[in-house]
């Protein structure tokens, strides 16, 4: 969790901008509503717009208005609020599963195999007689950490490689385009099956490594496109004619203005990566025991699901809700950041 003081400037931002008044800025009544709702905003939601903010913190003022607008849009969007709350809950569960769970996920009793729900075991038992609720709670950690780390890795790699290609152009741009085409030629699920079946390990890191390996070209394409758009702006020309160095132009002028589409794509990708990890674990090449993962639990429940559907449905439902939360978040952020829809 971040310290609350660092959030202050961001919360104030939209107001400061509204005060100075751009031509398209709304009237004062809306600003008034902002003041009223500001105190009511929960801290959790503030946390979840932060991934975009480091760019703003180091950027020039022109970047702020977009983020300010977006932030104000987001706080009114019920889809954003619901998904952000869900994600906060999921992150909490994956950090401290023992708080929510009723006991150890490895505490199994074969006598209870495939039993349905009962008083202290709301989700029933699985084939090995383990409590499905506990296993589902503990399964969140693998899914969320694979999703988060894989997205961070793919976004960083994609932004750096794609951004440099878009900024400098030339031969590296051509090479990168060919490389992304090569990676797009391999269906991601198939590549994952082949790669993970020959890399012997059941921990989360090979899975993350693979997703980064096949995921970065998608982000690199987006980054390249948005950097090309951003670098044609007049303020970049102005900065260059003032003698700014390439690195300064890239970091202070181009990056803050090109980062919005990357964040949107990365957020949506996070959800699909979680689904991908579950699919790979379901096929038996992703995470393996003793790591607990939803995909794996669904896979073991699958042959028995006609007799005991609860073993399959609970982890499946949690998995779907998790993916849904991240995709909804990405959707909401996209709507907020897209000036065409405003």
């Amino acid at each position: 969790m971040r310290d609350p003081h660092s959030e202050r400037p961001d919360d104030v931002d939209p107001l400061a901008n509204a005060g100075t008044g751009g031509p398209e800025l709304p009237n004062s009544t809306e600003v008034g509503i902002d003041v009223a709702t500001e105190e009511a905003e929960s801290l959790e939601n503030a946390d979840y717009t932060h991934p975009g903010d480091p760019g703003t913190a180091t950027s020039a003022t022109e970047a702020r208005s977009l983020w300010g607008h977006a932030w104000r849009d987001l706080r009114r969007n019920p889809i954003f609020l619901v998904s952000a709350l869900l994600i906060v809950f999921l992150v909490f569960v994956s950090l401290w599963p023992s708080v929510v769970a009723g006991g150890s996920p490895y505490d199994c009793d074969l006598a209870h195999s495939r039993e349905g729900a009962s008083g202290s075991h709301p989700f029933g038992f699985d084939l090995q007689g383990c409590d499905v609720y506990n296993r589902t709670v503990y399964g969140a950690r693998a899914s969320v950490s694979v999703g988060v780390f894989a997205t961070l890795g793919a976004a960083l790699l994609g932004t750096v490689l794609g951004g440099l290609a878009g900024y400098f152009g030339g031969w590296w741009d051509g090479v990168l385009s060919r490389i992304t085409e090569i990676f797009f030629g391999i269906p991601i699920l198939l590549g994952g099956l082949v790669f993970l079946s020959v890399v012997p390990s059941g921990s989360i890191w090979p899975v993350i490594g693979f997703i980064v390996l096949l995921g970065w070209p998608q982000i690199a394409r987006i980054a390249r496109g948005s950097v090309i758009t951003a670098k044609q702006n007049d303020y970049v020309q102005a900065a260059r004619s003032l003698g700014a160095s390439n690195s300064r132009i890239m970091l202070r002028h181009v990056l803050p203005n090109a980062v919005a589409p990357i964040i949107v794509v990365a957020t949506i990708a996070l959800g699909t990566y979680i689904a991908l990890e579950a699919t790979l674990s379901y096929l038996g090449v992703g995470l393996k025991p003793p790591t607990i993962s939803w995909g794996q639990d669904i896979s073991t429940a699958a042959p028995q699901y006609r007799n005991a559907p609860h073993m399959l449905l609970w982890p499946a439902a949690w998995l779907s809700v998790t993916v849904l939360a991240f995709i909804m978040l990405g959707d909401a952020v996209r709507d907020a950041l897209d000036p065409k829809l405003r």
Binding site: R178, I179, E181, I182, F183, F184, G185, I186, P187, I188, L189, L190, G191, L193, V194, F195, S197, V198, V199, G271, A275, A278, T279, Y282, L283, G284, V285, G295, I298, A302, Y305, R306, P309, L312, A316, L319, S320, V321, V323, L324, I327, M328, D331
Partner: protein
């Protein structure tokens, strides 16, 4: 047009080599086909060396790749783990999977575009909101969960569709698997069509068409749809590769003995010729589908000149 096709085919060559080499690298360099031959036992070093020599595995990787590709172009894909030529496996598996994938693309195109146009024309209304929500839910349910869910509901509970598909895989048995396979992409198609349609619906030429007094159906189909379809067609083309890759999951659930099934067996048994052979064909199909999409552009939008 002819020159354009030739240029695109030439451009495909490096991509084809890159993609197949990447898979080749994963299978032959990261994995070890010879130890996979022996299952859990450790192979006798002399035997292993003999096998390595027989299958050219003692040569440098790029030479192995060249030898392998040379054989492929003469129709020799090697043998599968059970001694059957991979070509025979392909002859059995590809027709089934192509039928499945075409059926899936059919559903995806018809249902996805229809829903997308309906919701795009009524942006912000109840129908639009519910379609958007439904697509979100469909996208977030992974294919293997959706597969079991629909199999349970339609196959077991209501007994409408067959639970598993027979070896011959006739079309009517493939309907449910095709729907499962298509659903996620169908949701993306719907969203893409919706965005494209609602952007184009505000265009000047639509206002002109309305002002001329053209009937609504004609405006939608001839003016709006034709202009909105380009991104959708691109997506459908790119998605064919994903559909065939995603068939691994669907074919496992419904016990369809197609490409996904054979590939999965090949991967589990680390049978290198099966995996690389099937993936090579997949890459070719993917590249040809992309070429076809680019040619379709010219049909949909006469402004695009292919030269």
């Amino acid at each position: 047009m002819g020159r354009y096709v030739i240029r695109r085919l030439l451009q495909m060559i490096p991509v084809f080599i890159g993609s197949t080499f990447l898979i080749f690298l994963m299978v032959y360099a990261l994995g070890d086909p010879v130890t996979a031959f022996f299952g859990d036992r450790r192979p006798d070093p002399a035997t292993a060396a003999a096998i390595r020599h027989e299958y050219n595995l003692d040569k440098p990787l790029w030479q192995q790749y060249l030898i392998y590709m040379g054989k492929i172009f003469t129709g020799d894909f090697g043998t599968a783990f059970n001694g059957e030529p991979v070509v025979d496996l392909m002859a059995r598996a590809w027709p089934i999977t192509i039928r499945l994938a075409l059926l899936a693309v059919f559903f995806q195109a018809i249902v996805g575009i229809t829903l997308g146009v309906l919701s795009g024309l009524r942006r912000g209304r109840a129908l639009d909101t519910s379609v958007l929500l439904a697509t979100l839910v469909v996208i977030s349910i992974p294919t293997f969960v959706m597969g079991y869910l629909l199999q349970y509901l339609f196959g077991v509970n209501w007994n409408i569709a067959p639970v598993s598909v027979s070896a011959a895989a006739p079309l009517d048995e493939l309907i449910l698997p095709a729907i499962v396979l298509a659903l996620v992409s169908l949701a993306y198609t719907t969203r893409l069509t919706r965005t494209s349609v609602s952007e184009n619906a505000r265009a000047d030429y639509i206002r002109t068409a309305v002002a001329k007094g053209l009937p609504g159906r004609r405006i939608t189909v001839r003016h709006l749809l034709r202009n909105s379809l380009i991104p959708v067609v691109t997506f459908l083309g790119i998605d064919i590769g994903n559909l065939m890759g995603g068939a691994i999951v669907t074919e496992r659930i419904f016990n369809i003995q197609g490409v996904g099934y054979q590939l999965y067996q090949g991967i589990l048994r680390q049978n290198a010729p099966t995996v690389v052979g099937f993936v090579t064909i997949l890459v070719i199909i993917f590249l040809l589908a992309n070429l076809l999409v680019d040619l379709l552009y010219a049909v949909l939008d006469p402004r695009i000149r292919l030269a």
